[in-house]
Symmetry: C2
Subunit: 400 residues, 2 copies
C-alpha cells in the first residue's frame, strides 16, 4: 500500500518506546514528562464534574462550537493577562486538545514541504515530530542559559530569507529547564519585529516557577501580532483531559479555527466545562502553589543527589521551574549507550539526541524530576552516578 | 504573513455558518447533524463518571497511551464483531477524537499534494474538508440507492491508475441517508480487491437502523486488509465527548498511531474511561433501541409531512436509518437560493452543493430529522412545503 511521502520521515517517539521499557515496576524512570499524579485535585475535580453533569448534563454531552466553551476561553484570557502580562480577550483564544494539537495545527497552518523552521538547540521533541509531519526542514539556533543567541538568530534569518516559522519555549524549556532572561525576551522581540515571520511561543511550564518570578509572555512586546502563544492545563492541572489553547491575532486565529474544525470539530465539550467549573468553584492558584512546593523540593533533592553522586565535571542545568533537568556528559560520550547500561540496572532517562532536529549532539540527556517520589529520586540518581562514575574512570584511563 | 498553500483551499464549513444563523430561537433548524440531547443517558453517564473518578481518579487524569484505554478498545472490538461481522481484536483499534479526527488522519496518512481520491456523489462534507487540507483532488463516482455504481467505479479506477484512496459511507450516508445493499457491498469488495488502494469505510450511523437489518461492514469481505473502518460514540451515545475509533490492519494502524501521537498524544483518558465504565455498568443496546424508536418516529413524521406538504414531483430519500433525508428539487433550482427565502421565514436546512467536492449539483438539500421535536418537524416541513410550492408554481408558469 502506498502512503503519503510524509510517512517516510515519521518514526516512533523514542520517549514512547523507552516508556514502554520503563513500565516495569522495578525500573526507576526519569524518562517521561509526567506530572506527579498524587498532586491531582481529584476530589475537587469530582465536585466540579458533578456540578456540570447535574446543571447542564445534556448540553455538556452535545456537539459544541469549534472555538471552545466561551466561559473557559474567558477564564483563560484573564489568567494569561494577569500572569503573563498579555492583553487578550476570549475572542483571541481557541481551545485545543493539549498544546500538542496546537503544535500540529501550527505546522499545518504555516508549513509547506521543504519549508524552513527555526528552533532552539535543543528543542521539544514532540514539536519536532509534529512539524516534521509537514515535511519541513529545521535550523537549530544556538541557545544559551539566557535564551536563544540573537547574533546567531540574526545571522540565520539573514542567510535564509525563506524561513517560515520560529518555535521557542522561553519558560523552563523541555528538555533543558532553561528560562530566557527578561532582557533576551525584549531583544528577541526587537529583532523579530523586523521580519514578517510567525513566532510560536510554547509555554506549558511558565506557571511552575520556583523562584517566584514569572516572566512576561513574548506577547508583551508583540507590536506586529506575530506571536502565537500556546498553553495547556496539562502541567498546572491534569494532562489526561487533553485541554490546551492557542492565543493569536484574529487574522491568524480564524485560520486555526478552520483547521480545528476539519481536524476534529472541537475539543471535548464536557472536559472544557469541567475545567471551567473547577476554576469557578476552586482557587487554582492554591493548587499551583502546592505543585510548586512539591516540584521545587524534588528539584532540590535531584540537584543535591547529582552533586553528591555524579563526577564533578558533568554539567547540569539548575532549573528555576518546570519538570526537567538537562545533563551534559563529556563530548565523546553517547547518552544512548549510557541508557542501555542504566536500563539493565533499572534506571531510565531520555537520551538527548532526538531533541536536536538534525541530531547535532549525542552526549546529553533529559532527567524528569516531577514524577518519581523522593526516595526513588535519590536512589535512581545515585545508581546513575555509580554508572557514570564507572564510565568516567574508564574513559579517563583511556585518555591517559 | 505567509500561510501554507493548503490554506488557499480552506473555507469555513457552510454548515457551521448556517448553524450560527439558526441559533436564534425562532428558527426551526433541520441544518445541523445533532442527535436529540433529550435522549442522552445523562444520569447513567453521571454514575459511570463518578465510578471512574472514585476508583481510579488520578490514573484517569494522567497522560495515557496513544492507542487508547485498553478495556475500551476491547469493548469496541467486541461490539464491532457482534454487530458488523468483522473479526478484529483490541490491537486493531485506535481511539481518536470522534470519526472526524480519523478522517483528518486518513488524509495525512495517504494523501500527497495533487493525489486523487474517489468518493460517493454526494458525500460527507466534513470528509471533503478534512481531505482537502492535504491538497488532494476528488473524483465523485455516481451513487445510486443501492450504493456506488460499480461500472462507473471500475471505469474510474481504470482511467486513473494513480487513485490513492476510496472513501465511502455505506450505512445511512450523510447527507442522503442511503444504505448500500448487501449485494453491492460484496461486489464492491470483489472489484476493489483487484486494486492496492485503501478503502475508508466511515460508519457513524450503522447502528441507528429502523428496519432491524444491520448489514455487515465491508471488512467482512476484506481479503487483502485494505478496509479501514471508522466508528464513533457520537451518534449512539454522546458527541460532546469526542470519542471515536479507527480499525485497520496492524501495518496500517501502526502508522495511524504515529500520526495520533504527533497530533495530540492521545484522546482524553477520562472520557475513554467514562465511556468504558458506562458500557460495563449499563446495557448500551437498551439505550440504542430507545434512540432507534425515537428517530424512526421522527423519520415517519418528517416523511408524512413531506408527502403532505411538498409538491408531488419533489424527490426525497426514505432512509432506513441514520439522521438525514435528502431532497432533490427540480434540476434548474438552486437550494442555496431556497435557503435564503426559508431563513427569512425561520426555517433552515443545509444546501446540497458543498456535499459535492466538485460542486456538481445545486438543486438538492439535506434535512436532519433527529434534532427538532415532533411539533417543530411538522411545522418546519409545512413551512418549507409552502415556500417550495410557491417556487414551484412560479417556475411552472415560467415554463409555460
Amino acid at each position: 500500500m502506498k502512503y503519503a511521502n510524509r510517512m517516510n520521515q515519521m518514526t516512533a517517539s523514542e520517549i514512547r518506546e523507552i516508556l514502554k521499557v520503563t513500565e516495569q515496576k522495578q525500573v526507576i524512570s526519569f524518562a517521561g514528562g509526567l506530572p506527579d499524579p498524587e498532586l491531582f485535585p481529584v476530589n475537587e475535580f469530582l465536585t466540579a464534574a458533578n456540578y456540570v453533569l447535574k446543571e447542564s448534563g445534556s448540553q455538556g454531552l452535545q456537539y459544541s462550537t469549534t472555538e471552545g466553551f466561551e466561559p473557559l476561553r474567558m477564564q483563560i484570557a484573564n489568567r494569561m493577562n494577569s500572569k503573563f502580562q498579555s492583553q487578550i480577550t476570549k475572542d483571541d483564544v481557541l481551545i485545543v486538545n493539549g498544546a500538542q494539537q496546537a503544535l500540529d495545527m501550527s505546522g499545518k497552518l504555516f508549513l509547506d514541504k521543504g519549508d524552513l523552521i527555526v528552533c532552539e538547540s535543543p528543542t521539544y521533541l514532540g514539536a519536532i515530530n509534529a512539524f516534521r509531519t509537514y515535511e519541513c526542514r529545521f535550523i537549530s539556533v544556538l541557545t544559551e542559559d539566557e535564551g536563544m543567541s540573537l547574533s546567531h538568530l540574526e545571522e540565520t534569518l539573514k542567510a535564509h530569507p525563506d524561513i517560515r516559522m520560529i518555535y521557542v519555549i522561553p519558560d523552563f524549556q523541555n528538555p533543558t529547564g532553561r528560562r530566557w532572561s527578561l532582557e533576551r525576551r525584549k531583544r528577541f522581540m526587537d529583532l523579530i519585529s523586523c521580519y514578517d515571520i510567525p513566532v510560536i511561543e510554547d509555554n506549558p511550564y511558565g506557571e511552575i516557577v520556583f523562584d517566584n518570578q514569572i516572566f512576561p509572555s513574548l506577547k508583551k512586546w508583540d507590536k506586529n501580532n506575530q506571536v502565537i502563544s500556546l498553553g495547556t492545563f496539562s502541567k498546572i492541572f491534569c494532562p489526561g483531559l487533553r485541554v490546551g489553547w492557542i492565543s493569536a491575532s484574529q487574522e491568524i486565529l480564524n485560520r486555526y479555527i478552520l483547521l480545528k474544525q476539519s481536524s476534529d470539530l472541537h475539543t471535548s465539550n464536557l472536559s472544557q466545562r469541567q475545567i471551567s467549573k473547577y476554576l469557578e468553584l476552586f482557587d487554582i492558584e492554591v493548587h499551583i502553589r502546592k505543585l510548586i512546593l512539591a516540584y521545587r523540593n524534588k528539584r532540590d533533592i535531584a540537584v543535591s543527589a547529582i552533586k553528591k553522586c555524579f563526577p564533578a565535571d558533568i554539567k547540569y542545568t539548575m532549573p528555576e521551574g518546570g519538570l526537567f533537568l538537562w545533563i551534559e556528559l563529556p563530548e565523546s560520550w553517547s547518552s544512548r549507550e549510557l541508557l542501555e547500561v542504566c536500563i539493565k540496572e533499572n534506571v531510565a532517562f531520555v537520551p538527548g539526541e532526538p531533541f536536536y532536529p538534525n541530531g547535532e549532539k549525542k552526549n546529553a540527556f533529559r532527567l524528569n524530576f516531577s514524577n518519581a517520589d523522593e526516595e526513588k529520586l535519590k536512589e535512581g540518581i545515585s545508581k546513575m552516578g555509580g554508572i557514570i562514575g564507572r564510565y568516567h574512570s574508564a574513559s579517563m584511563s583511556e585518555t591517559i
